[in-house]
């Protein structure tokens, strides 16, 4: 619909018309519910996650208001406890991961030169489940039934006898529900990146952002089952009187912590890793060169993803287990710093050898480096058992993980928003607004969280709804609360900037930054089919590479135009040798229906309407059976021996 209607050389007008005919979805209400376009789904992920971010952020503002002064009565303890739990849970599960999945959804097919994800309908299903699970969890708050046990929900406080009501049932079921979305999304990313890369994009030419998303997806596949096990056992304990976490019945409360952190620590990297990928994707455009040390950054991504599974006990350093068993985890937690160090210095080298173009995305990347490095120091400190035992569960750890998560996820997300907004919307943002937003967010972030290191060291435990004034924590808390308002103001400016760009921004053109990866060779916003010609990749920076560019213009061939039907190209796993052109599915209501039936299932479980839940299970099975039912074909076509 935009700039590329002038036919590029190498592809005929008829081909473009046919591609449009096969890929375009009509602008109708029906199409809104049935779409399988990864770009629309990616946008929805971004918008929905941003919505949950606002809710979780407002929770934080209310909490900071309560904590601004000692012994203030803005919130009751019960309200405060629900808010801090929802703040953490939503930021982790409903904002960070889905937001980055949103970027992944929009960008991975574009970056690898494909026309969609490997399983477009599964992709749509994943989005609907995410939306429903998020609403399911937030809906509990107005009823005063929101989870109230902290985002890691330790046993036995999560048990029925210590925590009656629906609070922790909402937690367990909500996260199980959401897990379906995250897992299906992760599998989709892995298969997409393995099979749908443009010909020539062997593993050593895959963009670092895609590496990061795939590593994240692998972590999800192997980490999430631990959380799901935990929550399933919790639900059984609460509703069906099993004894997994009940010492009275022979159970063990530390089992919860082990399972939770086997998930929970990889999850930290599940959140941060795509953020690091965004940094590697943003830098080439603003340093005017490729990122230094590509194999080393790939190494860092792979090593971090694996080692992250073996550090979980450092969250349990105060539980009184044998010091020797702590030390195995202490060793891994110490060494995991090294791949992060490699990445940081590779980026610094990139900046020192490149030419810096100081626009908003680069500002946020610089903010990322400053913040993430500081969070990294405290992270390495936590690897040492003796030090950890002193500061864990104090505000020092609150400071640490906000530095890591705001530094490692929020700053890159904001950099990504400004960087890809022209690609997603076709419009340029207002640079001045972006700079103001950066300085407010950066200042607000450090003013809010830096003092927390100090009053943590001064003995303030986390998760207290109030504190007495004679303990030396007053000044720090007040500064933090002021900072949180500055931070909120900065984030409001980001939102205003995005709305302004969509309403008033000037058209961006396909490649406003002269970026290096393939998304910049598509239109802004991309056509429904992404690429008129699937490129043939010859280097790590395909958009800067003349041979690759040529393969989509004068060098275009029929087998990469694929205008007969809705198709994309499958290539081999490691070296991306072309295998076959495969048909892609049409829009469908089934993903929405299946997600809806699952919502009924989880709501029925929550409310104890078990017969309804059983009926919903049957409906789920029926929907999946219908979804995958093979189309009937003539015997010759399917290959029946006569």
């Amino acid at each position: 619909m935009s700039t590329t209607l002038s036919t590029p050389p190498g592809i005929g007008r008829e081909d473009l018309a046919r591609l449009a005919e096969h890929w375009d979805e009509p602008r109708s209400l029906r199409a809104w519910f049935t779409t399988v376009d990864h770009k629309k789904i990616g946008r929805r992920y971004l918008v929905t996650a941003a919505f949950f971010f606002v809710l979780a952020g407002l929770s934080a503002l209310v909490m900071r208001t309560q904590l601004a002064r000692p012994e203030s009565g803005v919130l009751s303890p019960q309200e405060y406890n629900q808010l801090f739990t929802m703040h953490g849970t939503a930021m982790i599960f409903l904002f960070a991961t889905p937001m980055l999945f949103g970027f992944g959804n929009f960008l991975v097919p574009l970056m690898i030169g494909s026309r969609d994800m490997a399983f477009p309908r599964l992709n749509a299903f994943g989005y609907w489940v995410f939306l429903f699970a998020g609403l399911f969890m937030w809906a509990s708050l107005p009823f005063g039934a929101a989870p109230n046990n902290g985002w890691f929900a330790y046993a036995p406080l999560n048990q029925d006898q210590h925590n009656p009501g629906l609070h922790m049932d909402v937690y367990a079921l909500g996260l199980l529900f959401l897990g379906i979305s995250t897992t299906s999304g992760a599998i989709n990313f892995i298969v997409t990146a393995l099979k749908l890369r443009a010909p020539g994009m062997s593993l050593n030419r895959v963009p670092l952002f895609v590496w990061a998303i795939v590593a994240t997806a692998f972590m999800v596949v192997f980490a999430l089952p631990a959380l799901n096990t935990d929550n399933a056992l919790l639900f059984l304990d609460r509703r069906f009187d099993t004894h997994f976490f009940d010492p009275g019945g022979g159970g063990n409360v530390l089992l919860w912590q082990h399972l939770f952190w086997i998930f929970g620590h990889p999850d930290v990297y599940i959140i941060v890793m795509p953020g690091l990928g965004i940094v590697s994707a943003v830098l080439p455009a603003f340093t005017r060169r490729g990122v230094v040390g590509y194999p080393l950054i790939v190494l860092a991504i792979v090593a971090i993803s694996i080692v992250s599974f073996g550090v979980w006990v450092h969250h349990m350093f105060a539980t009184g287990l044998p010091q020797l068993s702590y030390s195995f985890f202490s060793a891994a937690s110490t060494i995991i710093t090294i791949p992060s160090g490699i990445q940081i210095f590779a980026w610094l080298a990139t900046m020192m050898l490149g030419r810096l173009v100081l626009r908003a995305p680069l500002l946020f990347v610089i903010g990322f480096i400053v913040t993430f490095v500081l969070g990294g120091f405290t992270g390495a400190m936590f690897a040492l058992t003796a030090f950890d035992q002193q500061v864990t569960d104090s505000y020092f750890v609150v400071a640490h993980f906000h530095y890591v998560l705001l530094g490692g996820a929020l700053f890159p997300i904001l950099a990504g928003i400004y960087f890809w907004l022209p690609k997603i919307t076709g419009r340029m943002y207002h640079e001045g607004l972006g700079r103001w937003a950066f300085w407010l967010v950066f200042t607000g972030m450090h003013v809010t969280f830096f003092p927390m290191h100090l009053y943590g060291l001064f003995g303030m435990p986390r998760r207290v709804y109030t504190y007495r004034s004679d303990l030396g924590w007053d000044v720090g808390n007040l500064i933090s609360s002021i900072g949180s308002y500055v931070l909120a103001l900065g984030l409001l400016l980001v939102l205003i900037g995005v709305v302004h760009a969509i309403r008033r921004g000037r058209p961006a053109g396909p490649d406003p930054w002269e970026g290096d990866s393939l998304e910049w060779s598509a239109a802004s916003p991309p056509e429904a089919y992404n690429f008129p010609v699937i490129p043939c990749v010859h280097s790590l920076h395909p958009t800067w590479d003349e041979r690759t560019v040529e393969s989509t213009t004068t060098g275009a061939t029929k087998d990469r135009i694929l205008s007969e039907g809705k198709r994309t190209l499958f290539t081999s796993e490691l070296d991306a040798r072309p295998e076959r052109a495969a048909p892609m599915p049409e829009p469908s209501f089934k993903p929405l229906v299946l997600a809806g039936v699952l919502l009924v299932f989880f709501t029925a479980l929550l409310l104890g309407a078990y017969p309804v839940a059983v009926a919903a299970v049957l409906a789920v099975a029926a929907t999946i059976a219908a979804w995958l039912w093979p189309p009937r074909r003539p015997d010759e076509e399917i290959g029946i021996a006569s």
Binding site: S572, L574, P634
Partner: protein, 209 residues
Amino acid sequence: MTDRGGVVAAATGVEALTTEEPVGRPTGWWGMVMFVATEATLFACLLGSYFYLRFQHGPSWPPEGIDKPKLLIPLVMTGVLVPSSLPVVWAEHGIRRGQPWRLRAGLAATLVMGLSFMALLVIEYQDDLQHFTMTTNVYGSLFYVITGFHGLHVSVGLMMIGWLLAASLRGGSFGSHRHERVRNAAIYWHFVDTVWVAILFTIYLSPRL
């Protein structure tokens, strides 16, 4: 020996070391393998929890008042479930050659074996429930939740097999060119079988060690 040396040299030569492996798998295969990987991790977590709770529990396991699990029915269950993978393999090979009758016969055999397994599980439960339930203590919780969760997976596998059978009986679904769904369901069924061996060891054999 020289021949052997030649093999080693060939396998460590640059050509062999740059061989693309894995290669040429369809998207559905990867999707199912990844799904099975995440499910296997789920079972690993459950079985890990079993051993964690068992060794934290104290010397007597199962706890006082509960006998060590009897082996007869579980061994028969094993004898029914593990070989049930063979007809699936046979069926899959058949449809690759374009022989729907082999697909149907193989799937039907597996269906019967899987249903027998489920029936045996019910008999086993009826016996056990007279001695202890899910709420008796943590041993009961582990026993029923792990075997029940596996039973659930067998049911899902059976639904897949039944679904394949139904689609195949309709005709026009599978043939030598189109059998991806058969292969994916087969992978799942093999997984369900393999997990049972781990469960047999954990739940039924390990308390006797």
